[in-house]
């Protein structure tokens, strides 16, 4: 029996596919510059099927990539050309909502937003809110330690996963953490979150739920310059307030969002700042006065306070659709995700503008200003020869800029395919070696999402457009 047939025998016909349509549909995720057709796609409906699949992969040394909704912006769920895609989106059961202990136990294919929806009747919610929360899955969030607009106050996915059952690439099934906020012993759950699928696949995830803030105070502020918006962020931070979110969008991204969702941002603004306070009404009543004073002192030219929940969501809609909305301004774009120290935000933005001008490539900026997490959107037209290559060169410069400034190449999208060449610039050799050792401890055959996070020899997926431009340029190589 051919090996693949023995994998097929785990599944009914409808949930195992090696046909061309599936290979095409799964060939990329939210980062389409990389494409690779998998050998087969399996669609498990139970944890047991996932375990059997991974044990099969381990036995036959076949690489696998687990995938939720395929929204990764770093190419994190890009298939491996000779590997298996494990599509987890039918493992979408919420196994338990415990309002007393304030936890949810979910399968990996549960959509982020659905956790909050399910907990809403108990007055609880799941705090991390990536822009793609209406569709991205908890499994993917866990693998890439996803962030969102409200990380400043509540942290990233990692801060909200308190336990997880996973099947490692060896086929071993392990349970880390539990239902308590506290554990004893090394924080294995903390290590597993953000491991980009290189250890194995989480099959049951325990999440911490928080009481839904009673009241939000969301302010949309328009400024004449990016600098002024950046200064306003510092003023808010220095005041001792701890807003749930502090977001900035520049003129280009405002234009895109406006075109996409008509979000009603102040016309002519060079930058808008979204500040959101949240908490009990008594607290908001006090803090909003303080915030008003601070914002007034920053001399905005327009200011709007969300009048109700619908209005608040409307303001957020512009922000949350910004990435995809840039699709209206440019046929193609690369989303960057670097982090710089917040106090150097202004400096970073100036440098980005310079680099953008030098390269003659438009860059829109959307960022989580409170965290110093930048999202420059590098626009290009992929149908023009060399355009992708030039865009990637600019992206590389921006990544290096973040490293130089003492920041990070990724705040929340993960390294994935996209930034794997920069990992060694951020971490020195002994640290990278240690990461490799940890990876091999979990996955000695290097079959779990190979080609991601680390540069080098592991067989990466082949870009359909032939050699990756960075390869052509001799910057990266693969075997």
């Amino acid at each position: 029996m051919e090996p693949l047939d023995s994998l097929a025998s785990i599944y009914p016909e409808s949930r195992f596919s090696r046909d061309a349509a599936f290979q095409a549909a799964f060939e990329s995720d939210g980062l389409t510059v990389f494409r690779a057709k998998p050998r087969a796609v399996v669609i498990p409906e139970s944890a047991e099927e996932v375990i059997q699949t991974i044990r099969w992969c381990h036995e036959h040394a076949v690489p696998f990539v687990a995938r939720g909704s395929g929204t990764s912006l770093s190419g994190g769920s890009l298939p491996v050309a000779d590997g298996i895609v494990i599509a987890l989106n039918r493992l979408n059961r919420i196994l338990k909502i415990d309002p007393v202990e304030r936890i949810a136990v979910v399968e990996p294919g549960v959509v982020n937003q659905h956790v909050s929806d399910a907990a809403a009747s108990e007055g609880l919610y799941y705090a991390p809110d990536p822009s793609s929360q209406s569709i991205c899955t908890i499994g993917g969030n866990l693998a890439f330690n996803s962030g969102g607009a409200h990380c400043l106050k509540y942290g990233m996915t990692s801060n909200h996963v308190i336990g997880c059952k996973a099947v490692l690439a060896t086929g071993e099934v392990v349970t880390m953490g539990g239902e308590s906020l506290e554990t004893v012993g090394p924080d294995f759950t903390g290590l597993f979150v953000g491991s980009e699928g290189l250890f194995g696949v989480a099959i049951e995830i325990t999440l911490r739920l928080l009481p839904k803030p009673e009241q939000f105070h969301t302010v949309l502020v328009g400024y004449d310059s990016l600098q002024a918006a950046g200064d306003a962020v510092s003023a808010v931070i220095d005041s001792g307030l701890l807003p749930g979110a502090l977001e900035i969008m520049d003129a280009l991204s405002i234009e895109a969002a406006e075109a996409a969702v008509a979000c009603g941002y102040p016309p002519g603004a060079a930058a808008v700042l979204i500040v959101e306070l949240e908490g009990p009404r008594e607290k908001i009543e006090q803090e909003r006065q303080q915030l008003d004073e601070i914002l007034t002192s920053t001399e905005p030219f327009a200011q709007r306070v969300a009048v109700d929940e619908a209005d608040r969501l409307f303001i957020w809609k512009g922000r949350k659709s910004a990435f995809s909305a840039v699709g209206r301004l440019s046929p193609d774009f690369l989303v960057q995700d670097g982090v710089v120290p917040r106090s150097r935000l202004g400096e970073a933005l100036v440098r980005i503008q310079q680099l953008s001008a030098e390269a003659n490539i438009r860059v829109a900026n959307v960022f989580h200003a409170g965290d110093g997490n930048l999202h420059p959107l590098i626009m290009f037209d992929g149908s023009q020869p060399g355009a992708l290559h030039r865009a990637e060169e600019l992206a590389a410069k921006l990544s290096r800029l973040c490293i130089e400034m003492g920041g990070s190449i990724t705040g929340e999208h993960g390294v994935g395919m996209e930034k794997r060449d920069f990992l060694p610039e951020m971490f020195d050799e002994p640290t990278i070696r240690m990461m490799h050792r940890i990876r091999e401890a979990m996955d000695p055959k290097v079959i779990a999402n190979p080609g991601k996070m680390f540069p080098g020899k592991e067989a990466p997926a082949l870009s359909k457009v032939g050699l990756h431009p960075l390869e052509k340029a001799g910057v990266i190589s693969r075997e």
Partner: protein
């Protein structure tokens, strides 16, 4: 488990204690001994019970970077927690998880290695959630710089988190970067009298998911008081406190901060006891612990995190055997952080833990291939099928 009642000789008496004064000396110290364990001020003696050479980081002290508007600081591992909390307080900032044993002299590195968080962990997360980066020496004597120095970072494996609770068994921490938050303008403390443990649990559950956004929810089974901590503008605190007082009319008292339990809890000061165990749990088991140990002499319990963590304080080691049996029967695990003796009690399955995992051994091997550091003194922590 090992014999908990047996007091081992104090290791500091027969072990050399190296106290390097520079990072270079620290590395030399690690390299020059075959088996090493880093300690700080040894405020949690059971965690460093080993025959390895002890390397003390207390002279590697001081905050190396602190930029309040970044919400981050970096400090050497031997820096006393008090120095950090004082420095932060001057700029209106703090570590929201109520660092443990600061008053006893605990160092930053010790706090990370032990993985301890106090009552404040309830609101914004524990020490694991505020640790951003770590510079440490591997068993091979190499400097490892993991994580980052900015508040948000998703690059590479989150090795700093793995160091939390690792009891120094994966490396010798030298420098740590933390996230900090602005301190609430004011705090306010309330006590709710509860006649039974069940009632206390119900009320904790009620306030934990309330709109009030409490900073801490603790429970003293004796004398049966649920303690709440509010943080924010004073006027808001007062208004919320008033509503809570109305909800349980006559049973809620305003406790002046000077008399509140928070500081004592952070110091693990639960009466005249020398031994303290950390027991992660959930509400129902907390209640069972309280009920079972209610009349036990020489035992004091204290619950934090709305019942998800119980501190068990006892005098001497004589009661440990029965507590161990109790924890086992409840499927809970305990870490002895104060006192003498082995640091592990209770179930091997507690909090999702069991013997037999390849993973825990493989990670230890990956972090410490030359076995420079002692084995983790636990049964296997990761449940495995």
């Amino acid at each position: 488990m090992n014999e908990p009642s047996e007091t081992r000789p104090n290791p500091s008496e027969d072990q050399t204690l190296d106290t390097p004064e520079s990072l270079e000396q620290l590395r030399d110290a690690v390299q020059s001994s075959p088996r090493v364990l880093a300690v700080g001020q040894r405020t949690k003696p059971p965690l460093s019970e080993t025959d390895a050479t002890l390397v003390c980081t207390r002279r590697l002290s001081g905050i190396t970077e602190y930029e309040p508007s970044e919400f981050t600081f970096t400090a050497l591992a031997g820096t006393p927690l008090t120095e950090i909390t004082d420095t932060l307080a001057q700029r209106g900032q703090y570590l929201p998880f109520d660092p443990v044993l600061a008053g006893a002299g605990s160092t930053l590195g010790g706090a990370v290695g032990a993985g301890l968080s106090g009552s404040g962990r309830f609101r914004y997360g524990g020490i694991r959630d505020f640790l951003l980066g770590a510079k440490f020496i591997s068993g091979e004597g190499e400097w490892i710089e993991a994580g980052g120095k900015v508040v948000k970072n998703a690059a590479g494996f989150d090795i700093p988190k793995l160091l939390v609770g690792s009891l120094g068994r994966y490396g010798v921490m030298a420098e740590l970067t933390f996230k900090v938050f602005p301190q609430p303008v004011a705090q306010l403390s309330l006590g709710i009298k509860c006649s039974t443990h069940e009632l206390a649990r119900q009320r904790m559950a009620r306030v934990a998911k309330s709109r009030w956004e409490l900073f801490a929810i603790d429970y003293q089974p004796d004398p049966g008081i649920v303690h709440l901590r509010l943080g924010g503008p004073p006027q808001a605190n007062d208004q919320i406190a008033e509503e809570i007082q109305t909800e349980w009319s006559g049973e809620v008292t305003n406790i002046p901060l000077s008399e509140s339990i928070w500081a004592k809890t952070s110091e693990l000061n639960f009466g005249p006891h020398d031994t303290v165990l950390k027991v992660p749990t959930t509400g129902p088991k907390m209640q069972q612990l309280c009920e079972t140990l209610e009349s036990a002499e020489g035992v004091t319990l204290h619950a934090s995190l709305a019942g998800q963590l119980v501190w068990i304080a006892v005098s001497g080691n004589t009661r440990l055997r029965s507590i161990d049996t109790l924890l086992q029967s409840l499927g809970l695990s305990g870490l002895m952080v104060r006192g003498n003796g082995t640091c592990w009690l209770g179930s091997e399955n507690g909090a999702g833990m069991a013997i037999g995992s390849q993973m825990q051994r493989a990670i230890k091997q990956a972090m410490d291939p030359t076995a420079k550091f002692p084995e983790l003194p636990f049964p296997e922590l990761i449940a495995s099928q």
